[in-house]
């Protein structure tokens, strides 16, 4: 400030400032109707020197963990787990911790792309009204559920396409395969839940349940139960996978089977167990030849015998998941592994297999769209059947394999409106971006799909007032529906998002055995906010009927491997970044649990193989699949099959903010469009070629935490 500034001037300006603040900033954190006021009239949530805590639901993935966020003078300071939330019991993962770096991220979308919300709502209203209902589609992420319910109501009332939900985590978990296998074996659809904590031993075929798989916090709790040794024998854990995952790193025995032979191995173990036990050979295991299975999987027959003996001694829980199901024969693999549980007779018993409890306002399990369903969605976009597309909570341009053609199809859609909080790849290709609030500024609820035996509806409320000129997508849709009139207006007869949520939540008031109760809707809603959700104190896990499993027929033949090349290709979801963490700088700076690499993409290669090919750490190589090629640094990984290479998914953004853009590569660019019988992507059944591009240059390469051990001197270096 160059001019002289008198005290009187200062007071004038300060007074003006205080008055404007009181008028312009409408809403406070917990309630929309609280005004921010001068310090003389301190609102309850904003007392100097005191923190205020709000319960809400984490939106970093769709699991629905409860958070308690510490706020201080209107700013969110720290997220912690909600100790009263039955799903996560006060715990959080790294992504939940870093959610504040999304809230206060410098690269958020700060205002609607039209400049003001009136015109934005008009555009949404015109889009709804001017296109035929069948030409309008919604593509949504797996969270939040309240918005999905609202859009479903809208679609049902107007004849629009039902909203389609997708997420890369679901794709890499092959969720459709898992639930289809359960349906085939048990005659009942649902999302299986595996009770690790009660098992004596766990055989996991590719399930990365300690990382991102389905609901990692309760599975971690289950793992701790498995390992407990105070009152019982410490449980054994065996992992079957071609590349040691962070989950596999905790295993007592790591069995590096060839990708796609997991089902054969499971059936072979089943047969050996049945032989050891004597009696009639169950039909499901009768056709497999253990010698051939061991040969095909590339493991010693002796090892299978050893595992079978372990199976006879302990009550074993067998879990299919992850890359094991992303094969052309993934459905058979899932069935074969689930069938092993019949030998432990653990269906619907502690330490066994259940189907997950349905959430309070849920009538059936809704899984994310499979890749095949996404392919037919893309087909509809291409053919012009979909002319107007709304996108919320998902980034398909980045998450789907490039070869599926979503990006090209998107360019041909007349009207694309994104509700993204960040300018991700899909928002960058949209005609309009009407940003939603960040999850911590949002109202909502999320159904807890699995991980807890009780039906849980997790509640979300704003912990801070919106930082930018963003607007809740539900509010935008409600306002637009009013403008559009007719069936649209009658479909959403709510004043705003909160009224919609209150309507839905208050339906639970009549339920018995709730975690709280109240006689009027306003009090019930207040408790819902205070506790961060509502649950029913009723055990609701579903015991599947596994009586016919052993007499079933599972044909786990060797898979078809797509493409040509000397290596199997195993893409895996980065345990720290997952599908949408790359824009948060502290998630980038978290070392990968297995390789300790930060801020980049790497290609894992067995050191022996690399030596034969003349490849060293930090060399740049090109990976060539039948649909694409990418270049990245090599990391010599001691725990991967010599015939396999692996790459983490999560980097390789071309948009999505300064911390994500132009960093690393996206393995989805390599994945060819092939499906298994359940419609999931056969992403881990590909063969690729590897070509060396250049040798490592001193001072250039991957940033690795393991070099920290040599800080201030020579890195301990190359070798672990």
């Amino acid at each position: 400030m160059t001019e002289q500034f008198s005290r009187r001037d200062f007071l004038k300006l300060a007074g003006l400032g205080a008055a404007t603040t009181a008028i312009l900033t409408g809403c406070g954190p917990a309630s929309r109707y609280v005004k921010r006021e001068p310090y003389q009239q301190m609102p309850e949530y904003n007392s100097v020197g005191q923190s205020t805590y709000y319960a809400t639901t984490c939106r970093e993935c769709a699991a629905g963990c409860g958070l308690v966020v510490r706020t201080y003078q209107g700013r969110a300071i720290k997220t912690e787990g909600n100790a009263n939330h039955p799903l996560n019991l006060g715990k959080t993962c790294a992504r939940g911790q870093a959610t504040l770096q999304g809230l206060y991220n410098p690269d958020r979308v700060q205002a609607p792309s039209t400049g003001d919300w009136d015109s934005a709502i008009q555009i949404v209203a015109d889009t709804l009204k001017n296109y035929k209902p069948g030409e309008v589609a919604f593509l949504m992420g797996m969270a939040p559920d309240h918005l999905f319910d609202l859009v479903t109501d809208l679609a049902n009332a107007t004849g629009m396409n039902a909203p389609v939900r997708f997420g890369a985590l679901g794709m890499f978990e092959a969720r459709a395969t898992l639930s289809k296998a359960a349906e085939n074996l048990f005659g009942q659809a649902g999302l299986p839940w595996f009770d690790l904590g009660g098992a004596q031993a766990v055989f996991s075929f590719g399930a990365n349940f300690l990382e991102t798989w389905i609901s990692p916090l309760p599975y971690t709790r289950g793992f701790v139960g498995l390992r407990a040794k105070e009152t019982k024998i410490r449980g054994t854990f065996v992992q079957f996978e071609a590349r040691m995952s962070a989950t596999g790193a905790k295993a007592d025995h790591w069995v590096p089977v060839r990708p796609g032979t997991e089902g054969l191995v499971a059936l072979a173990i089943g047969k050996l167990v049945s032989e050891l036990r004597g009696g009639a050979m169950p039909r499901v295991f009768s056709s497999v030849n253990p010698v051939e299975a061991a040969e095909a999987a590339g493991v010693e027959l002796e090892a299978l015998h050893h595992l079978a003996e372990m199976f006879v001694t302990f009550n074993v829980l067998a879990i299919p998941g992850g890359a094991a199901l992303g094969q052309s024969n993934g459905l058979e693999i899932a069935e074969a592994v689930l069938a092993l549980n019949a030998l432990s007779d653990n269906f619907g018993k502690p330490g066994g297999v259940y189907l997950s409890a349905l959430a309070p306002n849920q009538t059936e399990y809704n899984r994310p769209a499979s890749a095949e369903e996404m392919a037919s969605f893309v087909e509809k976009m291409k053919s012009g059947a979909i002319k107007a597309l709304f996108v919320h909570g998902v980034n398909p341009v980045f998450e789907l394999p490039a070869s599926l053609g979503f990006k090209e199809a998107l360019a041909g859609v007349e009207q694309v409106i994104s509700f993204a909080t960040f300018t991700d790849e899909t928002a960058a290709a949209a005609k309009f971006v009407f940003p939603d609030h960040h999850g911590l500024e949002s109202w909502g609820y999320q159904r807890v799909a699995t991980g807890v035996s009780l039906p849980v509806l997790s509640g979300a409320q704003p912990v801070v007032s919106p930082f930018y000129d963003t607007r809740a997508t539900a509010d935008v849709l409600i306002a637009a529906a009013k403008l559009a009139g007719g069936a649209f207006a009658t479909a959403l007869p709510y004043a705003d998002e909160v009224e919609f949520i209150q309507t839905r939540v208050s339906e639970l008031m009549s339920e018995a055995a709730g975690s709280f109760s109240a006689s009027d809707a306003a009090t019930f809603m207040a408790y819902f906010q205070q506790y961060g959700g509502w649950y029913k104190n009723v055990e609701a896990l579903i015991a599947p009927d596994g009586s016919s499993v052993l007499n079933g027929n599972v044909n786990a033949a060797e898979p078809e491997y797509a493409g040509e090349g000397e290596f199997f290709f195993v893409p895996f979801v980065s345990p720290t970044l997952a599908e949408a963490g790359a824009n948060k700088p502290w998630l980038q700076e978290l070392p990968d649990p297995t390789t300790t690499v930060m801020w980049n993409t790497w290609i894992e290669m067995n050191p022996e193989t690399a030596h034969e090919l003349g490849i060293a750490n930090d060399d740049v190589v090109k990976v060539i699949s039948e649909v694409g090629e990418v270049q990245a640094y090599v990391y010599l990984y001691p725990a991967i099959r010599p015939d396999t290479i692996a790459m983490p998914f999560g980097q390789g953004h071309t948009a999505y903010g300064q911390y994500a853009e132009n960093r690393g590569v996206n393995p989805a660019d390599l994945i060819a469009v092939r499906f298994n019988e359940a419609g999931d992507l056969a992403f881990a059944g590909m063969k690729v070629k590897v070509e060396k591009v250049s040798s490592a240059v001193s001072g250039v390469g991957l940033s690795r935490m393991e070099s920290r051990m040599g800080v201030y001197g020579e890195a301990l270096g190359e070798e672990h």
Binding site: G81, A94, P593, P638, S703, V711, Y712
Partner: protein, 241 residues
Amino acid sequence: MIRPEEIKMSAEETGKWGMVIDQDICTGCQACVAACAMENNLAFVGEEDSGYGRSMHWIRIERFWEGEYPEVKMTPQQPMLCQQCGHATCEPVCPAFATVHSQAEQLNLQVYNRCVGTRYCANNCPYQVRAFNWRDYKRPEPLPNQLNPDVTVRRMGVMEKCTFCIQRIFKAQDKAKSEGREVMDGEFTTACAQACPANAIVFGRVDQPESLVSQLMHKGHGVKHLEELGTLPNVTYFKGG
């Protein structure tokens, strides 16, 4: 300051605050690392500086490899943080008395506004858990909104390290004092322990035999790292298996 005649080397010497870490159930998920960064206003340094080992982690998960493929095994994940040594090697080498021992809390303090950046302490720390601010690392607006007002933001030329979340210790003590009582076991915990999905990290009073951390510590098979150096570390590890 401790005078030489006051230094006790007996293994029975106990500190005040301590930690027990169960490596058998630690999954290496990095939740503690992220929680620590969020609680303690840790700067992120970017790809290049982190490649030079300059990242500001106050806690890191170490893991090593044993054996050769296919019999290869990752050693149990080992969260490594300041061991809050009772007889710390970082303390006597500081010419500015920036890293000193707190008699009251039995912790190694790092006094940021005394630190002149000689980095002797980090060179002398056998656990390599100190982090030095080689630059003023950028936090573009509006990221500073998340800064914890209870924790000083450090700048270039200053050494930092795990404090056992001393701001939480003081807050709990103040609260207890105003209510006329002692701090109860489990009333508060450090950011890493609070986040840990596996409950692998337990924090508390090691000088109170009834506390959870004391009971775990005295189960028998815990080890203290580099104890043979006479550092009297206050973190006990269970190797697992």
